[in-house]
Symmetry: C2
Subunit: 199 residues, 2 copies
Amino acid sequence: MYNDLRVCFIGDSFVAGVGDPQCLGWVGRLAAQAYATGQPLTTYNLGVRMQTSTEILGRWQAECAPRFPDGCAARLVVSFGVNDTTLIDGRPRVAPKQSAANLAELLAQATARGLAVLVVAPPPVDDAEQNARTAGLDEHFADICAAAAVPYVRVHHPLRDSAVWMREVRAGDGAHPGAAGYQEMAALIGPRWREWLAR
Amino acid sequence: MYNDLRVCFIGDSFVAGVGDPQCLGWVGRLAAQAYATGQPLTTYNLGVRMQTSTEILGRWQAECAPRFPDGCAARLVVSFGVNDTTLIDGRPRVAPKQSAANLAELLAQATARGLAVLVVAPPPVDDAEQNARTAGLDEHFADICAAAAVPYVRVHHPLRDSAVWMREVRAGDGAHPGAAGYQEMAALIGPRWREWLAR
């Protein structure tokens, strides 16, 4: 157990928990679960709607710095990618090669600061073509994390197979689920999250 | 009802909800209540532990900017002050006059950007002398908000009189309550919050 564990979650609207009427998202559910198993912690949710990996890479250090004072046990959870694969004028907002480079650069920056990192895959939305592009990123991200020896939680395919997730996404705004969907995502991340926290 | 309401909560550890095993704090509880009454919204919790009004004034614009895109209904909730009244070498971390000036400056900056603001008073901790200093700030803050025509929610004295709040603070780390304490704080803020959101 850590005495002063502080975890920043950096990413997009799925990190922010957009659409969850309980206002917990997967981040709040994982944090509450840590408390329930005897590990209090401070979580900072730094998910921002609509942001691509490029925007997240650009702000993560400035926003994490005041949240990680000297002496705390600092951890970083990263999740992005869906906004990268959104098309504008027929082209993805961020090209897959650039998304991969952004993740590799963020991991290099975090490692240089001695931060332990966990990466969570971008989830599916209600658009099969976009999901196919995101699944491509998922493969790239898995390779990059393996090369960096950083754990990567592959939630994309399991959530595409989740009736709860896909039903809530369709019933919502086409991208974000409700409470049950975020609960599914938290349950998929849970085992790796607990293993990672225990390191 | 707003279509795309986004509320940033800027402040300290009480804004972050430190100590709440449910990981909601008063912010998450107010947000969930808004959903329950038919007003979905995106909330960004920008509370940071240990920060004084000077530090919060220094970062609020940089952190809110990417969270308030053009076209959204943007709102700002502000709460700080307890860390200002902590003594270091016998002197408060921020002098009361400076705390007041920081709040006035933050409100002026927000007003210049056309942002609607709600200010929440700094709550009490398990230290009667510090609470006396914070109660002094509470008076200053009330005057400043009145002059700026910004609603100010006076939770300090009611929470000092709350057996639940004070018991949880004592049982915790001496500053932060647990779930029931944050629920009390959310209940005190609720009426003004709903009135302000409806404007």
